[in-house]
């Protein structure tokens, strides 16, 4: 029973990371109908920036905060500079631009920082935390906590602030938004900034576990796709919940089902995607697309 709880918490921690990246994907998808394939690489790049700041001697939480700010600005600039020229183009065109971005970020990271894995510090103590009779990894609990705080912050922002309302409006109905005086282009840019920020958090929380290297987010991106598929690409809350579920399933399957070693873990994610798509394409919480004739 103790091991089960430990594994569940551990699964929730990784699930929080999957959910964060999934949320970033869904945020951009809702506003633009495009899946940002470069989301993982942007998160990876942010994490390298954090590593650079930490190496320069900044205390952890200062570097953390600075990275969030830089990532936000970076995401915003990427939207305004790289994506804007193709804003009205067919979806596949924008997809190729995202793929281009992915490849550029990965390559530059490899060039600047090399492909050798680097350790990344965790702000949480390495000794396990005891709650009742069970020992939980401090990083697991900490990462889960940080992720939840960030997500709660986003929720409050979108639900209760005027800017958040304007962003939701711009994503749903750009034409009417313009009539209300909303600068739709900038709303999109801020959306990308926030997505980059969320990705940065995910990257910094996962790097201590998997070690920092340019390809570290590739597997996580796939799990994020699985999470968003499970939760529904049209539901931000669903994406997060989907991430938590996927994290727990992945961990439990890896622990309790013996022939699923690390190799086949990925196949579990893929099988999940296929099953969900076959049974209920819009996911657990997504809305089925209504086609008006």
């Amino acid at each position: 029973m103790d091991i089960l709880l430990q594994q569940i918490v551990s699964g929730l921690a990784t699930g929080g990371i999957y959910g964060s990246v999934a949320l970033a994907l869904v945020m951009i998808y809702q506003a633009t109908d495009v899946v940002n394939y470069a989301q993982g690489e942007m998160a990876m790049f942010s994490t390298y920036l954090a590593w650079t700041l930490l190496n320069a001697g900044l205390p952890y939480w200062v570097a953390f905060g600075a990275t969030l700010v830089i990532s936000f600005v970076g995401g915003l600039l990427i939207e305004r500079i790289v994506i804007r020229p193709v804003e009205g183009a067919p979806v596949l065109t924008i997809v190729i631009v995202c793929i281009g971005l992915l490849v550029i970020l990965n390559s530059i990271a490899g060039w600047i920082y090399s492909y050798i894995q680097k350790p990344f510090p965790s702000p949480f103590p390495s000794r396990p935390i005891q709650i009742g009779n069970i020992y939980f990894g401090a990083h697991d609990l900490g990462a889960l906590g940080v992720t939840l705080v960030v997500l709660a912050g986003l929720y409050v922002f979108f639900r209760f602030t005027t800017l958040g309302l304007a962003m939701r409006a711009a994503a749903q109905n750009p034409v009417s938004s313009r009539l209300c005086g909303i600068r739709v282009g900038w709303m999109l840019a801020i959306g990308w900034g926030l997505a980059a920020l969320v990705g940065a958090v995910a990257g910094m929380m996962v790097a201590p576990v998997v070690f920092l290297d340019p390809n570290m987010m590739a597997g996580i991106l796939i799990y994020a796709f699985a999470s968003a598929t499970l939760g529904g690409f049209t539901s931000p809350g669903g994406a997060v919940l989907g991430g938590l579920i996927v994290g727990v399933i992945e961990n439990l399957a890896g622990t309790y089902v013996h022939f699923i070693g690390t190799e086949l873990k990925l196949t579990v994610a893929l099988a999940l995607i296929l099953v969900v798509l076959l049974v209920r394409p819009s996911g657990l919480f997504g809305r089925a697309a209504i086609h008006r004739v």
Binding site: G100, I104, L266, I273, L277, P281, V293
Partner: protein
């Protein structure tokens, strides 16, 4: 000169040049061009599905792998003459594609892309799993076929001609298919499936068939690539291959037969070029090329050419010289 004649002329010229190349280029360059033809066949297949029929697939690398391994296994285990492996691979993939197309009917756009993406990811793992057939991670080594009938061309030249012949055949087939009723039905399904159905088009059948034909093309390409490279291994058929195919058709131009050639040239040569420009981070240059192309030609190379020729060939209309506006 009517546009049609010009197009035909350019095509014939291209074929003549292609026929002359093997006698002027080194073997390595020939190999590169053979690869271009193989990619072109693949891209044509994917374009039929994605460009003309609107079904986005991120998993066609899987069919490429099936085609390649079919050839490899037939050559390696059963000593089948290589000529037969090509149509068998194509047919096998056609059936597989059709069967895959059936559950795919329920999926659209993003969801179909996700499903095919998952498929593409699974392929290397599945290939490694069935070691007895596929040779596992080591793969299967083949020998390059030599020219038949005592023709005095070396294996590289022979493969070049063989691939070119298959390419031309498949191109003509595709042109005929897409120009007629079938083609119109396929495009109608892409543009407005409900209206198409209301007009009596059996959308389910056509969509599955298109998937099948598209997979068949890619399977043939895979078979040819096994012969050209003389080696198959699971890691060559990873998801990156499928993404490369998608890139190829978008850069080349969706819903365009010539787009397959442009796209194939891009995906074969630009990575090499990028390497020449910046050895340290070649993929960064490739990415810049990708983005640059999309800025300059959002509808691909073929789309850009279409636009240019349309402007040049447009009958002189209103002399008012009104600047064209567009509704926001």
């Amino acid at each position: 000169m009517p546009l049609r004649t010009l197009r035909l002329g350019v095509t014939l010229l291209a074929v003549v040049v292609a026929l002359a190349l093997p006698f002027t280029l080194s073997n390595f360059r020939l190999f590169q061009f053979t690869q271009v033809f193989i990619y072109a066949i693949s891209l044509l297949g994917l374009n039929i599905l994605t460009g003309y029929n609107g079904q986005i697939s991120l998993g066609h690398g899987a069919f490429y792998a099936v085609g390649a391994y079919t050839t490899a296994i037939m050559l390696d285990k059963w000593n089948v003459p290589y000529g037969w492996t090509i149509p068998v691979a194509g047919l096998l993939c056609l059936v597989a594609g059709f069967l895959f197309g059936i559950p795919a009917l329920r999926l659209e756009g993003l969801y179909l892309a996700l499903a095919t993406f998952a498929l593409a990811l699974a392929v290397p793992q599945i290939l490694k799993y069935f070691e007895n057939w596929t040779g596992g991670s080591q793969g299967i080594v083949l020998s390059k076929p030599t020219a038949p009938w005592g023709l005095r061309v070396n294996p590289d030249q022979w493969l070049y001609f063989l691939t070119l012949a298959v390419l031309l055949l498949l191109f003509v087939l595709a042109t005929n298919l897409l120009a007629g009723r079938t083609g119109r039905a396929i495009v109608a399904i892409r543009d407005n499936p409900i209206a198409a159905q209301a007009m009596g088009v059996n959308t389910a059948l056509y969509k599955s068939l298109t998937f099948g034909v598209s997979a068949g093309y890619v399977g043939v390409a895979g078979a040819l690539s096994a012969l050209a490279v003389a080696y198959v291994a699971p890691d060559a058929f990873n998801v990156f291959l499928s993404i490369t195919f998608l890139t190829g058709i978008v850069i080349g131009g969706l819903a365009s037969i010539w787009g397959a050639i442009f796209g194939a040239l891009f995906i074969q040569f630009i990575p090499n070029w990028a390497q020449d420009i910046a050895k340290a981070a070649p993929w960064a240059i490739y990415g810049i090329f990708l983005i640059g192309f999309m800025y300059a030609m959002p509808r691909g190379i073929a789309g850009a050419i279409r636009l240019l020729t349309a402007r040049a060939w447009r009958p002189r209309a209103e002399p008012s010289g009104a600047a064209p506006g567009s509704p926001r």
